[in-house]
Amino acid sequence: MRSNTFNRAWFNQFIPFVVPLLILALWQWLTASGVVAANILPRPAQVLEAFIRLLRNGELLNNISISARRALGGFLIGGGLGFLLGVLNGISSLAEKIADSSVQMIRNIPHLSLIPLVIVWFGIGEEAKLFLVSLGVFFPVYLNTFHGIRSVDPGLIEMGKVYGLSRWSLYKDIILPGALPSILVGIRYALGIMWLTLIVAETVAADAGIGYMAMNAREFMQMDVIVLSILLYALLGKLSDTIAKWLERRWLRWNPALSRK
C-alpha cells in the first residue's frame, strides 16, 4: 500500500513533462532525419550549442537583463499608475466621473498601433519601449483595480463603520484586501501584455535585448539563435506567470475556493 502512494506522487510530478518531452523528441527526429531542412529549423542540439556559446561570451546574460529590465520598468510604471488611478476612481465617484470615460476612450486604441508614432517621438531608445510597455500594462491593472474596489461587499464596509474603524483602517483592512483578488487577475493579464509588447517593440526598434539579438541573427541566418530567442521569451513569460501564481496563492490563502485539497 505504501509503494502505491509513492508511485502516485512520483507519477503526478512527472506527468506535466510528458507532452513537452514528446514534442522535443519529435523536433529532434524531424530535423535529424532531414524531413525538415536545416535552414528552416535547426536541431535541438544546435540551439543548445548556441545557448552555451552566447552564455560564455556574456551576450546572453546581457541581453536577457536588458529585456527583463525594460519589461519590469514598464510594468512598474504602467501598473503603478493603473493601480493608483483605479483606486482613486474606485473610491471617489467624482474622480470616476472626470477620468473614467477618457481612460476608456484611450483604451480602445490598440497600443501596438502607436509604434510608428512612438518611434518618431522617442526614437528607438529605452524610453520608446518603456512607454509602450507602460501603456499596455496600464489598462488591465486600472480596470481590474477599479472593478475590484467597487465590488467590495458593502456589508463589510458597513460593519467596519459600526465597529468604529478609521478611514485609513477601512481602506487598509477592508477595501484593499477585498479588491485584491480582482487586482491580481489584472496583474496576471498585464504580465502577458507586457511580454507581448516587449517582443514587438524589441523586434521593431532596438539596439540591445533579446529581440535585437534575434533580429541580428536573422541578418546572418543564424537559425539557432532565432529559435533560442523564442525559447527565452517563452521561458521568461512562464517564469513571470509562475511568480504571479505564487503571489496569488500566498496572498489569497484565506479563500477556501482557491486552496488545494
Binding site: 460593519m159 459600526v162 465597529y163 468604529g164 483592512d173 484586501p177 477585498g178 490563502r253 484565506w254 477556501p256
Partner: protein, 258 residues
C-alpha cells in the same frame, strides 16, 4: 442630575423615519432601562430593523431623537455593538484578528478571552471560510462583546441558522447577558425566540409600536403553559389585521365550521 437608575439608559423620543415619500416609522417612543433585555417583533417590512439601525446610529431619524445615557446619538457610540443577520467577518483575516477588530487597542489577550467565552478558543488561527454558519456568528458575537459594550443590538442574527444551533446560540446570548450585565435589544421575527429571551417584547406594526408586554416568566425559561400564554398573546395580536370588521370575523367563523 440623573443617575442610571433614575433616567432611562436608552431613550427614543418621538422618532420618525422616512425615505423619499415612504414613512417607515412614526412617532416611536421607547425607554429602555439599563440591563433590560428587549425584543422587537413584527412582520417583515414593519420597520423593526430600521428602528434598530437608528438606535445603532447607522442612520439618523427624520425627526425626534435617540439618546444614550445623556448623549444624543449622532453616529455609532463606542459602547454600542451591533450584530447583523450575516456574520460579516473579514474573510482575509484570521478568526482572532476578526475579533480584535472589536477592540480599540487590538489587544490579543482580550480577543482570546472573548473567543473562549463563546467556546471557540481553539479556532483562533483559522480562516473564516472554513467555519460553519453558527461558528461564524459566534465569532461575530465574540467580536461584538470583546470591548465590553454596554448596549448590544442584535438584528435577527439567528435567522440563517438551523433550529438546534439557534437554540444553542439563544442560550449563549442569555448567559452572556446575565454575566456581563448588558442591555440587549433583539430584533426578531420569531416570537418564540422573543419570549424565550426577553424581559419585554415590543410589537411594531406599520411603523407604530402597538404592544409593549413585560414577560413575567422566571429564568431559565421553560416552554410550559406560561410560555405558551405569552407566545399566543403576541402571535394573536401579530396575526390579526387590526382593521378586521365584525362581518369579516363572522365570515371566517362560518367557513371553518362544517
Amino acid at each position: 442630575m440623573s443617575t442610571s437608575q433614575i433616567s432611562p439608559f436608552l431613550q427614543v423620543d418621538g422618532v420618525q423615519k422616512s425615505y423619499d415619500q415612504r414613512t417607515i416609522l412614526s412617532d416611536i417612543n421607547v425607554n429602555v432601562r439599563q440591563g433590560e433585555f428587549v425584543a422587537i417583533v413584527g412582520r417583515s417590512g414593519c420597520g423593526k430593523s430600521t428602528l434598530l439601525r437608528l438606535i445603532a446610529g447607522l442612520e439618523s431619524p427624520s425627526s425626534g431623537s435617540v439618546m444614550l445615557g445623556n448623549r444624543k446619538l449622532g453616529s455609532t457610540a463606542p459602547e454600542t455593538r451591533f450584530l447583523f443577520q450575516e456574520a460579516r467577518l473579514l474573510p482575509w483575516k484570521s478568526v482572532l484578528d476578526n475579533v480584535r477588530l472589536g477592540i480599540p487597542d487590538k489587544n490579543k489577550e482580550d480577543a482570546r478571552q472573548s473567543l473562549r467565552n463563546v467556546g471557540l478558543g481553539e479556532r483562533e488561527g483559522d480562516w473564516p471560510g472554513v467555519l460553519s454558519g453558527g461558528q461564524k456568528q459566534r465569532v461575530a458575537l465574540a467580536r461584538a462583546l470583546a470591548s465590553h459594550p454596554r448596549l448590544l443590538l442584535l438584528d435577527e442574527p439567528l435567522g440563517a441558522l438551523d433550529a438546534l444551533t439557534r437554540i444553542e446560540m439563544q442560550q449563549l446570548i442569555e448567559r452572556l447577558w446575565v454575566e456581563r450585565g448588558l442591555t440587549v435589544i433583539l430584533v426578531t421575527h420569531d416570537v418564540s425566540e422573543a419570549v424565550a429571551l426577553a424581559d419585554r417584547v415590543l410589537l411594531i406594526e406599520d411603523g407604530h409600536i402597538t404592544m409593549d408586554t413585560r414577560i413575567t416568566l422566571e429564568r431559565p425559561r421553560v416552554r410550559d403553559s406560561g410560555f405558551a400564554h405569552f407566545e399566543n398573546l403576541i402571535l394573536n395580536r401579530l396575526l390579526t389585521p387590526p382593521q378586521e370588521t365584525p362581518q369579516q370575523i363572522a365570515q371566517k367563523q362560518i367557513s371553518f365550521s362544517i
